[in-house]
Symmetry: C2
Subunit: 238 residues, 2 copies
Amino acid sequence: MSAQGAPPPHGVIRLTVRDVLGGMVGAVCASAVPVPHRRGRPRSAAADRAILDATRSALVEVGWSRLTMSQVASRAGVAKTTLYRRWAGKSELVVDAVAVLFDELELPDRGSLRADVEGVIVSFAALLERPEAKTSLMAVIAESTYDEALRARVREAIVERQKRLVLDGRRRAQRRGELPADAPDSAEPEAIVDLIFDVIAGAVVHRSLVSGGPVDAGWVRGFTTLLLEGLGRASAQP
Amino acid sequence: MSAQGAPPPHGVIRLTVRDVLGGMVGAVCASAVPVPHRRGRPRSAAADRAILDATRSALVEVGWSRLTMSQVASRAGVAKTTLYRRWAGKSELVVDAVAVLFDELELPDRGSLRADVEGVIVSFAALLERPEAKTSLMAVIAESTYDEALRARVREAIVERQKRLVLDGRRRAQRRGELPADAPDSAEPEAIVDLIFDVIAGAVVHRSLVSGGPVDAGWVRGFTTLLLEGLGRASAQP
DNA sequence: GGAGTTACGCTACGACGCGTAGCGGAATGC
DNA sequence: GCATTCCGCTACGCGTCGTAGCGTAACTCC
């Protein structure tokens, strides 16, 4: 609503996670320089960290719906106004607070496509089990269906950065000869990566947050078989 | 919070969608009799319908987060207290208001497994495009991560009732010989149905609500190929 | 070192949604 | 008739939101 009401103090009102963390995680950062803000008192990086930490711990304890800005402020030891100087609302704050969790995801080479797929499924499911992520991810996505800016923020901060996992795994499988190499005329390996990402992430989220069933070894094996060999063979397995 | 504060007036405070609609849609209804409430003035079925209609139309216009109980009440032409006599809060109300949308899903026999799968994907995606569903489905699921009763309500009213689509399609494919019949010793065709449901629903939801890409003919064909034939062949297709 | 600029903590405030209580009246079963 | 239950209405206390205004702290440029 009141995004550009007042003249922006430091050029930009909102900072991304990468600005806060000094660009230590991001590689696609637009401006490598973390905005050295020429004049005036600089924003407290300690306050930023305290706020994001407080947000995560509050999410663990009370969940998304009972999380209030006042509560986060007092936990972080800052004034409520300081929160609103950085984030427009609860949704924006939580996106940044949760985004760093997803950067912990790694995909070590396990030797085969099947092992790699099972690995990423298990890792992602474990991440979704953490209360901070579990309670807030869906809420933020829900909010973003009516807020285009928030939607873009979610995509940039969370979705886009995880596709690297699929991209890496696919390239490794191609090198091993488990998947066909990209046809030089085929214009869209990107479409396939997007598809695989939606299928894996969507299925794991749906399983653990909607259906509510456990992502245990049996489910992981079944899902991987379905992914690798399709419905016919997956139905025949024990 | 205050669920059982006062003695329940009519035996049960909450009614399910099937009670309201007189059991016209559900087949797995526990008690076929819609509680003929022995004494006193009966609850207005017209008010129930007006409230649920008002909820859906309000969801279309303002979305989940800006939806208020007072707003729904005045739209429906009922008092706010009447709302709270039937539903404990916004989440419960919206679950019931949205659940009926999912009952419209049908899966006509299109002659082949591939055509059936593509059909269910397209239908489900079209449903998610409706603003009432789009904005509220994720919000309710998010809320349910910290509310076990709500979670059960979502599962019963939405999730469980859609698995029939997968079950039907699978049986038809088995009859056609496109899928192997259930091994008599294999104890769990149910696990496979659950898996397929999570994969299809999860992928479509993730595609349209998280990634934000279109569920167009190309995506549907690619996803179907992946489902039927697995990663290897899906990667080779144009 | 001083001047200008920006961020911070604090307090207070209006606006709004929530969920409940209490009333008189209306619709049913006995 | 009488008891029972629902309805519409008004009013209320409570908590959260997001902002304004103030004095003060930190930093840059001259």
